[in-house]
C-alpha cells in the first residue's frame, strides 16, 4: 500500500513561530489525507497550530555536488554585509 501512495513533505508552524518548518514526510493518497496524517503523526505533542503539506515530487532541490560553485563564492564577499556604514548616533536599535 505504501508504494502506491505518494510521499508528502510536512511543514508545521508552531504557536510561537511565524514560519512553517519542515518536520518530515509521510505517505498519503491525497492532500486531505496528508494533512490528517500529519496531524496524527506530527502534532500529537502540541507541536503546532498550522500544517502545510506538499507532494515530495513537487519539491526541487539544489544538487549537493554543486555546493562549491553555488555557495563558496560568497565566502570572501564580506562587503555584502551592511557592516561598513557609519551610523549616525541618533539612529537607535540597529
Amino acid at each position: 500500500m505504501n508504494s502506491a501512495e505518494p510521499l508528502w513533505e510536512v511543514f508545521i508552524r508552531s504557536k510561537q513561530g511565524l514560519d512553517h518548518k519542515h518536520v518530515g514526510s509521510l505517505h498519503a493518497a491525497d492532500a486531505q489525507m496528508a494533512i490528517e496524517n500529519a496531524r496524527d503523526v506530527y502534532t500529537r505533542r502540541m507541536e503546532g497550530v498550522s500544517i502545510w503539506v506538499a507532494e515530495s515530487k513537487d519539491i526541487h532541490a539544489s544538487n549537493p555536488d554543486d555546493a562549491a560553485s553555488l555557495y563558496d563564492p560568497a565566502n570572501d564577499k564580506v562587503y555584502r554585509h551592511p557592516t561598513f556604514y557609519d551610523l549616525p548616533d541618533e539612529l537607535k536599535h540597529m
Binding site: 505517505h27 493518497a29 490528517e36
Partner: protein, 269 residues
C-alpha cells in the same frame, strides 16, 4: 437519583473504554504506519474519556454511605475504595453497560472504520447535548470529549468515502461491513431505564432525539461513498448491551483486559 446517575456514568465510561480497547488492537497492525498512529491516537482519546467518566463514577460510589449494598462491585469481594481501575478491571461482563457495537470484533479495516464512524457520529451528537447537562462534571467531560470526537467523525467519514468510492475490493468490503453492523445501530437511540431517569432529571441526553441528526449525517457520507443508506426501520435491531446483556465477544475482551488484575489482585505496574 444516585444509582441511576452511577449507571448512566458507567454506561458512558464503558462505551468509551470498550470501543477504545477494540481500536487499540490495531496498534502495530495498521495497514500503514500513518494510519496505525491515527487509530492508536483515537483509541487513546477514547480511553482518556473513559477514565474521566470512571473517576466520576468512583466518586459517586465512594460518597454513597450505603455502598456496602451496592451491586456495582462484585459481591463478596472487599475492594475498599472504588477507583477508576476497580471499575474497569473488576467488574464482570453483565455489569458492563456499553453499546453492543463497541464490543464487536474489528474484522477488516472497512469494518473497523464503519464501526467507528457509526459510533463517533453518535458520540458527536450525544456530547453536543451532554454539554447542557445540569451535572457539571458530565458537562465538563462532554465539552472536552467533543473536540476529540469531532476529529474522529472527520477521520472516519473520510475513510468511509474512500473505501465506498474506492476500488471494487474496498467497496465490496465496506458493503459487507455495513450488512454486519447495521443491526447494531438501533440500540444507540433506545433509552435504557437509567437514561430515561437521567433525562427527567435534566442530567442526561434524550438519545431517541439524536436519531434524525445521526441519520442525516450518515446518509450524507454514504452518498459521497456511493453506498446505499439501509433506510428506515425495516431491519430488526440488536439490543441489550446497555442493560448488561452482551454478545459473547465482550467476555473475551475482558478476559484479556482484566487478566492481570484478576490473576494478581492489587498488582501494580
Amino acid at each position: 437519583m444516585t444509582e441511576s446517575l452511577l449507571d448512566y456514568t458507567l454506561h458512558l465510561a464503558d462505551n468509551s473504554l470498550i470501543m477504545g480497547h477494540r481500536l487499540s488492537e490495531w496498534t502495530g497492525h495498521g495497514p500503514m504506519l500513518e494510519q496505525d498512529i491515527a487509530i492508536s491516537n483515537i483509541a487513546l482519546d477514547l480511553i482518556g474519556q473513559s477514565r474521566n467518566f470512571y473517576q466520576y463514577a468512583a466518586k459517586i460510589i465512594n460518597s454513597d454511605t450505603d455502598r456496602k449494598d451496592s451491586k456495582v462491585l462484585s459481591p463478596g469481594e472487599d475492594l475498599g475504595e472504588a477507583t477508576e481501575d476497580t471499575l474497569a478491571y473488576l467488574r464482570d461482563a453483565n455489569e458492563f453497560k456499553n453499546l453492543l457495537i463497541a464490543e464487536l470484533p474489528n474484522g477488516d479495516w472497512a469494518k473497523t472504520i464503519l464501526k467507528l464512524f457509526f459510533f463517533s457520529t453518535y458520540q458527536f451528537y450525544f456530547y453536543q447535548k451532554l454539554i447542557y447537562s445540569s451535572d457539571k462534571q458530565l458537562s465538563a467531560i462532554a465539552e472536552k470529549s467533543l473536540k476529540e470526537v469531532t476529529y474522529h467523525v472527520r477521520w472516519s467519514s473520510e475513510w468511509v468515502i474512500r473505501l465506498g468510492d474506492g476500488t471494487e475490493e474496498s467497496n465490496g468490503r465496506i458493503k459487507l461491513a455495513l450488512e454486519e453492523l447495521w443491526p447494531y445501530t438501533g440500540e444507540m437511540f433506545e433509552p435504557a431505564a437509567y437514561e430515561v431517569i437521567a433525562v427527567k432529571e435534566q442530567v442526561g441526553v434524550d438519545v431517541s432525539k439524536l436519531k434524525n441528526d445521526w441519520q442525516r449525517k450518515v446518509s450524507e457520507v454514504f452518498q459521497h461513498a456511493t453506498l446505499v443508506y439501509p433506510g428506515k426501520e425495516s431491519t430488526w435491531m440488536q439490543t441489550g448491551g446497555k442493560k448488561g446483556i452482551h454478545t459473547e465477544h465482550l467476555g473475551f475482551i475482558l478476559a484479556e483486559m482484566q487478566f492481570l488484575q484478576r490473576a494478581y489482585p492489587g498488582c501494580k505496574w
